[in-house]
């Protein structure tokens, strides 16, 4: 069954790169949706069902940690795997995201292979 994905990042460049990596990855990809921050992501999720979320942490309006917290507290989304893709490389931030329920953490800068490997372990 095709996998619909939501990419959440305030950088259009990163959304574009992740979109391209998803297309290249050997996964049954469905629709790829994009959101520019946590607020935008929650809005998109009202109308779109997704099977995977890739989210940045440092974003305006609502950051990735708050988005992760809200999604994991909501029965409708708590089973959706969320991978953090972020410049935040501190061990404390990684641990916080994983404890809140993120299934993976990829630090920017990343290679396409790193994203594909992470997805292979999840999907």
């Amino acid at each position: 069954m095709p996998l619909d994905v939501l990419i959440v990042d305030d950088s259009a460049a990163i959304r574009k790169i992740l979109h391209r990596v998803l297309v290249q990855a050997e996964i049954p990809l469905g629709k790829v949706h994009e959101a520019s921050d946590g607020v935008d992501a929650l809005e998109k999720l009202k109308t779109e069902k997704v099977g995977l979320i890739l989210s940045d942490i440092n974003m305006p309006n609502m950051d990735g940690i708050e988005l992760l917290t809200k999604l994991k507290a909501d029965d409708a989304y708590k089973s959706v795997p969320i991978v953090m893709v972020t410049t935040e490389g501190s061990q404390a931030k990684v641990m916080q995201a994983l404890e809140l329920g993120a299934v993976g953490y990829v630090r920017k800068p990343f290679t396409a292979e790193q994203i594909k490997e992470k997805l292979a372990g999840i999907i």
């Binding site: 460049a13 574009k16 974003m59 305006p60 410049t87 935040e88 490389g89 501190s90 920017k108 800068p109």
Partner: protein, 176 residues
């Protein structure tokens, strides 16, 4: 308790972070030149500047400055398509490049300084302007060369005073 970060440490962190990005997501050659400290009025800039702030127990700013031509080249390498002139895509790409490099520098320094926060990047494109961070005595500047293009990354960081004095502010831009 650490009361200063040396220019050598700043330059080393910038070089490590830049090499990592250029060898992974950009796949562009990168040759660094000797760093220097900028203590006087900064030179005026024609081109693109991206600023990222650091906050926490230490406060600072990272700055990438490059020509419009190199900004297009960075965007082209990141997004895998050619850009002839500076547009929204190019500015967004330079902002993200600065975010990733200064974010990596921040991660390197967090091992010594404890948790730090990163601001959202600000990018400026124009002619004949200067940037200045108030309360900062010097910037450490690391020049780079990528084939025929020269560009640089600058960084300043100082301990945050609890009274709120001497907070480095990246948001002062002077037209000259």
């Amino acid at each position: 308790m650490i009361d200063r970060i040396s220019s050598e440490e700043i330059a080393a962190a910038i070089r490590t972070a830049s090499q990592e990005l250029f060898s992974t997501m950009l796949q562009l050659p990168l040759e660094d030149s000797p760093f220097y400290d900028e203590t006087s009025e900064p030179e005026s800039i024609d081109g693109v500047v991206a600023l990222v702030g650091i906050a926490g127990s230490w406060t600072g700013t990272g700055r990438i400055a490059c020509s419009p031509h190199f900004a297009c080249r960075l965007a082209g390498a990141l997004l895998m398509q050619p850009y002839e002139s500076v547009n929204e895509d190019v500015l967004d790409a330079v902002a993200e490049v600065s975010n990733m490099i200064i974010g990596s520098v921040k991660t390197i320094f967090e091992e010594k300084l404890g948790p730090l926060a990163l601001s959202i990047p600000t990018v400026i494109f124009g002619r004949n302007y200067r940037t200045r961070s108030s309360g900062v005595p010097k910037w450490t500047v690391v020049p780079f060369r990528t084939d025929g293009d020269t560009w640089n990354i600058s960084f300043c960081v100082i301990p945050t005073k609890t009274s709120g004095q001497h907070i480095a502010r990246p948001d002062v831009v002077l037209a000259v």
